[in-house]
Assembly symmetry: C4
Homo-oligomer: 369 residues x 4
């Protein structure tokens, strides 16, 4: 469905946003809307950017820093930079190489790849790329399905388990509703036991925001008890994705997670929630060093990564920009996007006078309008 | 005057705002302006939306909530959701079925229908739809007229009396002035004793913002003493609509009202007053649990209802969107609008981790820009 | 130069702003720019409106107010409303009837008319209209010229003396600079002893913002000592116009003025100063009831007057809107503008639950964005 | 490459911004972008203006000030006004007369000219214009190169040494990247020992923001120790340019600098840092009178200079506007720009009631939106 996806002959992208324009041209309009859109009136979607743009970072001068290192520990392992690829469903929707391309690019860039449970490629093939893979879980209809999937994920060599908690139901994505968007039939959730048939009748979880999704295989009634159950049965590092309230972050720490991801799902779930960047400082203060804190939703540049670090994050996830690059030019373009981000972050750290990401967490931020 | 009012063949409305575009096409421009417009420079009209968009709600995760209930008590009776149809004059102006269509839709959705004293359908026919009807009163020229009307309203089976207090004179609606808008002669205020003739010379109350309206049958000099007089003579639950100042809310409670409606009349009365959402938290704090607090002016989605609840409201009124739907497709479209709102609110509660509207009142809000 | 100035055949103006559009059409572009423009980047010009729009007034309900009175005392005499016509130079520039038309309209509306020292009509003719005239003074080259003018002003029957203190030099009005705007030769400052010849070479005070204006007949070096000198020699009520800093207001009170006018000259003098509405509450608090406080710069409606009153002003001056009306239709249009303002203010007071302007000063204001 | 650069036949510029439009027409698009652009998403570039526009200055009245003096001491010498020409590389890029034209204009206006180390004219020719020249230094590959250059600069008669500390690496200027902008080969950095060959391979320092610039002759690892080393070896007044954090300003004072320049390099280095105007008051408070504080980034008018003074600055640097004027009309236009600025500042001081720049530092500022 998506062909002739190659970097056009124009000038090379100067920043991640440049991939957006190219992707918009490359993708069918409805697929673009699915990727680009947020829920409801898209107030939160826009708010994510505004909140980041309002964070001004105070650089330090004459710190004697030449070329900063970007290397960072996340979940106990060192990576090339404090960045990971966010979990995103059905990546073959935007490029035939889908998950394999993004995982390979992540591997080459030495950053974690978060594999969505709704991936369109079997998890074993994804880990076979050699990438550090964190498996992202939406809860399943029965605990036994979860147990089975955990075993499979463990066997495939995933290095962490990320439970997304901000999807008790799907957000109301009006663009998809208006486009009556449906996944093409050949796209199947390759990691769900019974394949596509396991998915709810009348709705395509991960895609169509219809009420029917209530019957989808991820159970809406997920609770702290389930998380504790999971913690006991899972010897991988455990991460909770989709927290905004500092009190919830503390509860997650109490359950024993290794990291929380402050996120509003890129403005795709409950419209009208705060930007994740708005809540980040409170979450960081609340959990202290009892767990790592990652941020996503709206990260578009090395300056944004610096902003997140300066507000206390240990790292960030990048979502849509990776799909833009994938759509535009498959694995090579995804690699370009990650290198660009590394270059930007290296320059940003140097310009802020920071030898490494840890130093950036000491920077002062100022709110601007 | 309004014909071929049916849902167009386009995609079904994805949100209440979609009805606005359809209504704008369906209605004569002057009628659209009458419905859509605010007073003066429309600063308050725009401010209502901005104030709501600035309220970010902090969702809670892992609360074990599956499908939330929307059921709520308002004025001592349970309803399907914390939403009511706002009182709006002359509904036959936008659709021949007018009041009957909206009341029937409210009944089907199991939400209160507030009948304007300036309704274009006799109140007895409205209550005959089986809807829970709250009768909205503008003060009349003589107390005896009020007494008579109360008896009629009581006999018709209305369940509450709502006194609108923000119309001592009509707001200056410049669009109507520029359009020299007049109600079509066949539209009569069906609940006023002497019919249309009772209305003031040279002005059409509820419609034309001319000074002549000073002589209209609702007396501008309404005071707290009148409200006390009414409280003594009326055994229905009493509600005051159109309060912004917390001190006035406390006075209303002292008189013995069951609810106050924090409202600026949808930006149609005094331009330059605060958004009702801006004043809501103070009013809630001021009255405590001595009376219920409802909110209107600018509510357009389930997310807005969630915002109102999170700021402490017991429920909301929805105004213009009901007229948009009515204009577009009569009773069925009005039903669609209310279902959509219920769907949106159900999703919003679930995504915020709330089992019911009462829980939503515990949510924390954050101000954004 | 300005002919066919009559109300067009369109709908009558619904608000003062409607006159602006008509005037823009009626006036030569350079004259429009002279009237409409501010100084520098026009940041203050725009800020005046934004500051007023940000002032939300909390209305009170059920106060038993029917038709409010607008009558107000200013400088010890009662007037029809808390509004005066601001002093503006060369009114014959926009209409042949100039000062006489505005003064007559002010008289009919029973509001003070502030006559600019740079009027294009002799002050005696202005007072002959029967209006209450306050004479506005720019300082003159010699104290003896001031003394002579005072005697003339006194003889002509002016009721107050208003010293404008925000014009030590003219503001840099870039529109006028770009238009190389010059007053037409037939326009003379009819109240200056030597007529036009008295005005500085190379510059037209009141009009062209050139450095040459340093030599204009109003001396830039005006000081508090001069004001004290004037206070002793003048038995008329004394008013200082153009104060923004509360400390300066207090000094003026100490000299013995009856009123201060918080004003930035409609954004025409120093660009980058605060909106006068921004400073009003501080000035009111600083002077207490030791003198009256009037406000101008940006007032465009009865709601704006209400905002000023609620912030503690005793009244307002209206500038450009009077010139718009004058340009559009001479004295009748000016009368329409003042009636419109009275109607708007009456409605605004009624809607805010205020029996009179004094009560409005007790209203609470809320800052909005 | 740039010819026919003369003031067009239109009206003379009414403010510095007028030169921008003319320059945009006169310059090749890529050169315009190089001059005009900022780094990254240009958030800081835009923020510089917004921050200045938000500073409202409270004027004082009746201070008896006629024509204020603009004379100011900076670095121990008196100048015509508290303004200097910011150091900007390769000025012959926009006009054949380049550095000589701007230096001559500065000399005529009696303001300091800051000569960039990347000047396209030998420093000896620049000082020969008679201007007061402050030499701006980017660090060099070896301390011996610095020592040699210092001797040359000293011999040429420069009066101060300005070390720019916000360029450990070049900012990512996306316009230049997209334009693949390169300096024309004939432009050489005339003050660097080995001429153009000394500059890094694959990158043009001062122009192209490529990573290759890491090998450019200014060493990125500049530290406080280097500054102390320089302080000891240099008997000229020492200035640090590019500080935003008050703590860094204090450290600079401790090293013994005579002045700090609060600057974000006109939004060309790290995007996402605060506007320099935002940080100015804190820096002023932190250093007290232990050193002078200058400001640049976004200054466009005399009102902006007044704003800076009122926030406590001792003076400002003006960057791009000087290049606009230079591009448009060489030395005469540059002279016009500086006179305009002096006229504007004189009017602004007079209108604020200030006899001189020192008095302006006592003015109160108010934050507006
Ligand atoms: C097309 C798309 C699909 C997504 N699918 C998932 C998913 O399957 N699981 C999940 O936890 N998050 C999913 N997300 C959310 C991302 O993990 C991430 O939180 C979000 O994209 C970050 O915001 P950004 O796109 O602004 O960077 C998806 C996002 C997009 C755009
Ligand atoms: C066309 C129209 C007519 C109205 N008529 C009445 C009325 O008769 N009585 C009343 O109390 N409020 C009336 N209102 C105000 C509504 O009850 C309600 O306060 C307002 O519409 C809420 O704002 P919204 O339209 O933004 O939801 C009217 C509003 C509109 C738009
Ligand atoms: C064309 C014009 C001429 C003016 N001439 C004078 C004047 O001669 N003396 C004076 O004190 N103010 C003068 N002003 C300022 C007004 O008195 C008043 O402060 C200002 O117009 C108020 O702002 P507004 O126009 O937004 O209402 C003038 C204003 C305008 C627009
Ligand atoms: C084209 C250009 C070249 C510049 N070159 C230098 C330079 O060589 N050294 C330096 O310290 N600053 C340099 N700057 C920064 C300026 O000195 C100054 O900080 C900045 O331009 C001030 O902002 P403004 O342009 O908004 O006035 C340059 C700026 C521009 C626009």
């Amino acid at each position: 469905m998506v062909d002739r996806m190659q970097l056009t002959s124009g000038p090379p992208p100067a920043c991640l946003a440049d991939f957006a324009g190219l992707a918009r041209t490359a993708l069918p309009p409805q697929v673009w809307d699915y990727v680009d859109g947020g829920s409801g009136a898209e107030v939160t979607l826009g708010g994510n950017r505004r909140a980041l743009d309002r964070v001004a970072v105070l650089p330090r001068v004459l710190t004697g820093v030449s070329t900063p290192t970007l290397r960072t520990r996340m979940l106990g392992r060192e990576h090339a930079m404090p960045v990971a690829v966010a979990p995103m469903a059905y990546q073959r929707l935007v490029h035939p190489d889908g998950e394999l391309a993004l995982a390979a690019a992540a591997r080459a860039a030495d950053v974690p790849y978060l594999a969505s449970i709704l991936g369109s490629t079997p998890i074993e093939q994804v880990t076979a790329t050699g990438a550090e893979v964190w498996f992202q879980l939406y809860w399943l209809r029965h605990r036994s399905l979860v147990t089975d999937l955990l075993a499979r994920v463990r066997a495939a060599g995933c290095r962490a388990l990320v439970v997304t908690v901000d999807v008790p139901v799907l957000g109301r994505r009006l663009r998809d509703l208006r486009n009556a968007f449906r996944l093409p039939p050949e796209l199947v959730p390759a990691n769900l036991p019974g394949g596509r048939d396991d998915l709810a009748h009348g709705g395509t979880p991960g895609v169509t925001p219809v009420s029917a999704s209530h019957d989808a295989p991820f159970a809406p009634a997920l609770s702290w008890a389930d998380l504790r159950w999971l913690r006991q049965r899972c010897d991988l590092p455990l991460v909770v994705k989709g927290i905004l309230d500092p009190a919830d972050a503390v509860r997650a720490v109490d359950v024993g997670v290794q990291a929380v991801i402050v996120s509003n799902h890129g403005g795709r779930q409950l419209d009208g929630v705060p930007a994740s960047a708005t809540m980040l400082p409170e979450v960081v203060a609340a959990v202290g060093d009892r767990c790592e804190v990652l941020l996503d939703s709206g990260i578009r540049s090395g300056v944004d990564v610096l902003r997140a670090l300066a507000m206390g994050a240990d790292g960030v996830l990048v979502g849509r920009p990776m799909l833009w690059a994938l759509a535009v030019g498959g694995r090579p373009a995804a690699g370009t996007a990650l290198s660009l981000l590394a270059d930007e972050l290296r320059d940003a750290l140097a310009l802020a006078g920071c030898a490494d990401p840890a130093t950036a967490r000491e920077l002062r931020t100022v709110s601007v309008d």
